[in-house]
């Protein structure tokens, strides 16, 4: 092979960029968030039958309880984190085009942050909203 005119050392060009050394962190984060989701999902499955039967006022009362607000806050956050990590792995596996793969992963993470922000703002807004929840719009 012809030696290119470059400042790069032979070792560095042989190794190319090498590993990003963040694979283990990703792997572990996905498993730890999964472990965290298990009790949160059980809590959610327990609460869901009450929530679907509640009208608007009861739902706001449910949300204003610190335990429910905190639970939903945690569930949403860990759910979106675990989901975006999972989608990233799937995109890395199936999107062959390098640029498209990079863009789609960035898009997923951007969407996850937007959904996270929206749900957290709404939870806080509704829970700390006007004390009389029979006001038609606020």
């Amino acid at each position: 092979m012809k030696q290119e005119k470059t400042m790069k050392s032979l070792v560095s060009s042989a190794k190319y960029l090498g590993s990003a050394h963040s694979g283990l962190h990703h792997w572990l984060s996905q498993r730890l968030s999964a472990l965290f989701l298990v009790p949160l999902i059980f809590w959610f499955l327990w609460q869901l039958p009450f929530i679907v039967r509640a009208d608007q006022k009861d739902s706001l009362v449910w949300l204003a309880s610190p335990v429910n607000m905190g639970g939903l806050f945690l569930l949403t956050s860990v759910f979106l984190y675990h989901g975006s990590l999972g989608l990233q792995v799937i995109l890395e596996d199936y999107v062959a085009h390098k640029g498209l793969r990079f863009l789609s992963i960035i898009a997923v993470q951007f969407a996850a942050i937007c959904f996270w922000m929206t749900s957290i703002v709404m939870i806080l807004f509704l829970a700390f909203g006007l004390p009389s929840s029979n006001v038609s719009s606020y």
């Binding site: 498993r31 999964a34 472990l35 298990v38 999902i41 499955l45 039958p49 679907v52 009208d55 608007q56 739902s59 706001l60 949300l63 949403t76 759910f79 979106l80 989901g83 999972g86 989608l87 799937i90 959904f115 929206t118 749900s119 709404m122 939870i123 509704l126 038609s136 719009s137 606020y138």
Partner: protein, 125 residues
């Protein structure tokens, strides 16, 4: 570079369907499907701002197509949860032999089906 026209592995069409491979891809598919649940959550939270929006949200939830979607979500949730625990046990080094893998696979499928049926029954008036 010369374009390579030789066959590329894996050849999905000629592979024999196995419990392990089907459950593996189903784990990914249910995972992707479950991500859509965040849209329902945000819609619910936004609709709570006023009674008319909440009525609209309830009407959408009670639509037959939405009900089918939600049953699919419940199934996916139980599947991803139980198969996820199976994955975590594998990561800790348990149940990696072929016999236990098939046994836990059938166990996950049975638990998913039973849990889905019983949980959906809780919502039928």
């Amino acid at each position: 570079m010369q374009k390579n026209h030789r066959p590329i592995s894996p050849h999905i069409q000629i592979y024999k369907w196995q419990l392990t491979s089907v459950m593996s891809i189903l784990h990914r598919m249910t995972g992707v499907f479950l991500c859509s649940l965040v849209l329902v959550l945000v819609a619910w939270l936004v609709s709570l701002r006023n009674p008319e929006a909440f009525e609209c949200f309830k009407n959408i939830v009670h639509h037959p197509l939405t009900q089918i979607y939600l049953v699919g979500i419940i199934f996916s949730l139980f599947y991803h949860l139980s198969n996820g625990i199976r994955h975590l046990l594998w990561d800790m080094g348990y149940g990696l032999d072929l016999k236990t893998t098939y046994l836990s696979g059938w166990l996950v499928l049975s638990v998913t089906l039973l849990a889905t049926i019983f949980y959906v029954l809780l919502f039928i008036e």
